[in-house]
Amino acid sequence: MSEATRDAFEQAMDRRVIRGRSLYVDAWHRLLKNKAAVAALVVLAIMIIMVIVGPMLSDWDHEIPDWDHYSTPPSLETGHLFGTDALGRDLFVRTMIGGQISLLVGLVATLVSLVIGISYGAVAGYFGGRVDNIMMRFVDGIYAMPFMFFVIVLMVIFGRNIFLIFVAIGAVNWLDMARIVRGQTLSLKNKDFVEAARACGATEMQIIRRHIVPNLLGVVIVYVTLTIPQVILVESFLSFLGLGVQEPLTSWGALVNEGAQELETAPWSLLFPASFLALTLFAFNFLGDGLRDALDPKDRF
C-alpha cells in the first residue's frame, strides 16, 4: 500500500463515526439465537396476517349463514374449510374474525394497562415516602375489589360493549404493572446516573422520562408479552360466561363457548377456535420466556 493510499485510508477511518450497539440491539441478537422464541415470533406474525387477510380472501361472511349447510364438517367441496356452525355460518371466517377481536383486546387492554401502570408506578416509586404510600394503598384497595363482580356491574350499567371490555380488563391489569414498575423504580432511583442527572440540573419529571422509564422497558416488555395472553384468556372467560363480545361479532372465547355446547354433534366447531387460541397463547408465552432470557442476564456487562 502506497503512502498516499494509506493516508487516504486513515483519513476515511477517522471520519467514520462508530455506531454503538445498544443493550436492546444486543438483546435482540440474543433473542434471535433462541429457537423457541423465533418460532413463536413467526407463529405470531403468521397469525396476525391470517386474521387480517383471511376474512378478505374467503367467499363467506361471518354473519350471513350459508342456508344450504348447517353444522357441516370441514370440507373442500363446500368451501367451508373449518365447517359451519349450527346457524350455517362459515367457521373459518368466524375464527379469523374472532382472532381479530381476541388479539385486539389483548393488545389494547395491555397497552392501556402499560401506559397507566408505568406512569403510576414510576411516579410512586420515584417520589417514594408518603406519595408512594398513598398511591400504593390505593392500588391495594382496587386489588381487593372482586374483578368479576366489577365487570358484571359495568356490563349491567353500560350494556355489553367491546370498549367496556378494554376498560374493564385494562383497569385491573395496570395494578400488576404499577407494582412491578414501582419495584424496579425503587432500585433504579438510587443509581448514580440518576444522581448525576440531578447534578446536571434535570427536573424530577425529566429524570423519570429520560432515565427511569427507558431503563424499565426491559422488564416491562417481558411482562407485556406475558400479559397479552393473560388478557386474551380473561376475555375468553368473559365471553364463555356470555359477558364478552356481542353477536354477530365473536371472539375465540365466544367461539369456544359455542363449540363446547355442540361438542358431541360438531366437534370441529370447538377444535379450530380452541387450537388457534392455544397456539397463540403458547407463542406469546414462549416469546415472553425468550425475551426474559435475552433481556435479563443481569445487564450482561
Binding site: I18, E195, A199, C200, G201, T203
Partner: protein, 344 residues
C-alpha cells in the same frame, strides 16, 4: 488574600434513622457531617481525605444541594446556596459539577455517550441547535482524550477509565467553575488512576477550574492537591497546605494516616517503626464525647473527653482541631517540627 469562590461555614448534615422495631419508633441522629468549615479558592485543588464513612461524600453532595444540609452556610461567589429553592439551585448547578466514584454506574446504560455528555447542555441551554450540541460534545470528548468518533457508543462498550473520562466530559461540558470529584479514581486500576488524575490536573490548568478532590488514597491526594482537609467521623481534623500535611502533620489522626501509607520499598517498609491505629471508627450513631478521635488517639487525656476541640487557625493559615497539637508535635517531632510548633 484572594477571596474564595466557595466558603463553607459550620455545615452540618444530619440523618435521622429509626432503629426501633415494628410498632416502636426509636429515632437516632447520625451526624454525617458536623460543623465543617473550609474555603476553596479559584483554580485551586482542595483534597479531602478520611476513612470510609467519615462523611466525605455526604459533604460533597451537601455542597451541591443533593442532600439537605441541617445547618451552616455554603456561599458560592458570595451568594448563599443553602435554602435556595430547587429551581434556583438548578441554575447554580451549571457552575458546580460533580464527578462520581463508580464510572459505569454513573452513566445511563441506555444512552449513548453523545446523549450522556449532552444532557447538561439540554437542561441548561435548551435553545442550542442539535449541530451546536454535537460540536460541543465532540470538542469536549477530544479534550478529555476520547475519540469523537465514539459519540454513538454505549457505556458498556468502554473500559472503566474511559467511562470516567465520559463522566469528566459530562461535568465539563457546561464550563463549570468548580468540580467536585467524589473519589474519581478509587474504582480504577493504578495505571489508569494516574491517567485520570493527570487529565484532571491538565484540565484544571487549561480551564482554570477549582477542584474538590475526595479520596482515601493519600498519595493520589498529595499529587493533585494544593491544600488538604482531613476528616474523621464527620468532623474536620486538620486543614493544611499539601507540604505541611505530609511533612509536618499536626493532628494525631493525620499522623496516623500518613504513617499507614506503605512505602513502595520492601526493605524500608519492613524496618519502619509503625504505630498503627487501634480499633475501629466508633459508630456515628453514638460518637464519643469531646474530641471524636479520642477513643483511638494515642495522646488522649481526660480533657479530650470534656470539650469538642475548636478548629484552631495557626499563623501560616493552616487549621487543626486538637487541644494538644503543640505538645504532641514538640514531644515526638524532629527539630524541624519543633521550630514549626514554636512559630505556630
Amino acid at each position: 488574600m484572594r477571596t474564595p469562590v466557595l466558603e463553607v461555614r459550620d455545615l452540618s448534615v444530619h440523618f435521622r434513622v429509626d432503629t426501633g422495631r415494628l410498632f416502636r419508633h426509636d429515632y437516632h441522629t447520625i451526624r454525617a457531617v458536623d460543623q465543617v468549615s473550609f474555603d476553596v479558592h479559584s483554580a485551586e485543588t482542595l483534597g479531602i481525605v478520611g476513612e470510609s464513612g467519615c462523611g466525605k461524600s455526604t459533604l460533597a453532595r451537601a455542597i451541591l444541594g443533593l442532600v439537605r444540609a441541617h445547618g451552616g452556610s455554603v456561599q458560592w461567589l458570595g451568594k448563599e446556596l443553602l435554602g435556595l429553592s430547587e429551581e434556583e439551585m438548578r441554575g447554580k448547578r451549571r457552575e458546580i459539577q460533580l464527578i462520581f466514584q463508580d464510572p459505569s454506574g454513573s452513566l445511563d446504560p441506555r444512552m449513548t455517550v453523545g446523549q450522556i455528555v449532552a444532557e447538561p447542555l439540554r437542561t441548561f441551554y435548551p435553545s442550542m441547535s442539535k449541530l451546536q450540541v454535537r460540536e460541543r460534545v465532540q470538542g469536549i470528548m477530544q479534550l478529555v482524550g476520547l475519540s469523537p468518533q465514539q459519540i454513538n457508543r454505549y457505556p458498556h462498550e468502554f473500559s472503566g477509565g474511559q467511562c470516567q473520562r465520559i463522566g469528566i466530559a459530562r461535568a465539563l461540558v457546561v464550563n463549570p467553575r468548580l468540580v467536585v470529584c467524589d473519589e474519581p479514581v478509587s474504582a480504577l486500576d493504578v495505571s489508569i488512576q494516574a491517567q485520570i488524575v493527570n487529565l484532571l490536573k491538565d484540565l484544571q490548568k487549561k480551564l482554570q477550574l477549582s477542584l474538590i478532590f475526595i479520596a482515601h488514597d493519600l498519595s493520589v491526594v498529595r499529587h493533585v492537591s494544593d491544600r488538604v482537609m482531613v476528616m474523621y467521623l464527620g468532623r474536620v481534623m486538620e486543614v493544611a497546605d499539601r507540604d505541611s500535611i505530609y511533612l509536618k502533620p499536626r493532628h494525631p489522626y493525620t499522623r496516623a494516616l500518613i504513617e499507614s501509607v506503605p512505602i513502595p520499598d520492601p526493605v524500608k517498609e519492613r524496618d519502619r517503626a509503625r504505630r498503627s491505629l487501634e480499633g475501629d471508627m466508633p459508630s456515628p450513631l453514638n460518637p464519643p464525647t469531646g474530641c471524636v478521635f479520642r477513643t483511638r488517639c494515642p495522646h488522649a487525656i481526660d480533657e479530650c473527653a470534656r470539650e469538642v476541640p475548636a478548629l484552631e487557625t495557626l499563623d501560616n493559615g493552616n487549621q487543626v482541631a486538637c487541644i494538644r497539637h503543640r505538645e504532641i508535635v514538640g514531644e515526638t517531632g524532629d527539630g524541624r517540627r519543633e521550630t514549626e510548633a514554636g512559630s505556630g
